[in-house]
Amino acid sequence: MAMTMTIERVMAFMGLDVLVARDEGLFEAEGLDLRIAALPPDEIRSAAEGTPSKPATNQGKLQARGAAQMFQA
């Protein structure tokens, strides 16, 4: 049975390796069903709403509520 893992959405600038591995079937070849979850658009906040000590970041939101196991910081 394949292992499953859900990660938060990555973009090329910080996750090119993940995107290529997904598109070229490298996770599948390792028996890993890797799913990439995106935050619903209405939950996305801009960093412009934050301050240095209280940033309005979107990273980790899905993980915090159990909808993803990993995210990239």
Partner: protein, 215 residues
């Protein structure tokens, strides 16, 4: 993945070197790695009290637009917006690189993490063998933006696209990053490696993934 971040000024700016950004408004996407990289570039060029930042949008497209409108004096950008900015005549006054780091919860098994590491290691090798083939990913992320859609693979500086096979997090680097953030008031408390890095899962997963590294 190694992330490239650049401090960028508009074509009309009188700033040519990072120290000339002292007391000038630099838009940072607070809470993101690029913002911390921007802060480190500024800190390396001037006294802390001269570092002047303002809140920038998470989207580099919006930060680039704000830069060109003159909303602030400089901003930090990542690819493909560094390339877009250069094509628009903007100048990079400082460039740096930083590690993207995976944050995992306790549900991640050693076996699944090892499989992830093996797949990523293979991907890194493929990309490093022919980076130009893969820069289309940077364009694809932002293809609805005309400034990006017109880019071609030859427009990219491949030196800014760096990938490294994944490895364990060095404790001294994790500690330094924590203490640096604490020194800016961005994080509280003392660094405790046992609460930040699950060395057992990390060690076992990397051991399981070793075969692909050797192969």
């Amino acid at each position: 993945m190694i992330v490239c971040a650049a401090l960028v000024v508009p074509p009309t700016s009188t700033v040519f070197a990072p120290q000339e950004l002292a007391h000038k408004r630099v838009a940072l996407d607070y809470g993101n790695g690029t913002a911390y990289a921007g802060l480190q570039m500024l800190e390396g060029a001037m006294p802390r009290e001269a570092v002047t930042t303002c809140a920038g949008a998470t989207s580099p497209a919006e930060r680039f637009a704000g830069l060109m409108r003159g909303d602030f004096d400089a901003t930090v950008l990542q690819e493909p917006w560094i390339t877009v900015a250069e094509k628009a005549g903007c100048r990079l006054v400082s460039t740096t690189f930083f590690h993207g780091t995976w944050v995992a919860n306790r549900d991640v098994s050693t076996e699944a993490y090892a499989a992830l590491l093996r797949a990523i290691t293979r991907a890194v090798r493929r990309i490093n063998a022919d980076k130009r083939q893969y820069v289309s990913y940077f364009i694809r992320d932002w293809s609805s933006h005309s400034e990006v859609a017109v880019l071609g693979p030859d427009d990219f500086n491949l030196g800014r696209i760096q990938l490294k096979e994944p490895g364990p997090i060095p404790e001294n680097e994790a500690r330094w990053a924590w203490e640096w953030m604490a020194s800016w008031g961005l994080i509280e408390g003392a660094f405790d490696v046992t609460t930040q890095i699950n060395r057992k899962v990390e060690r076992e997963a990397h051991a399981l993934a070793t075969a692909v590294r050797a192969g």
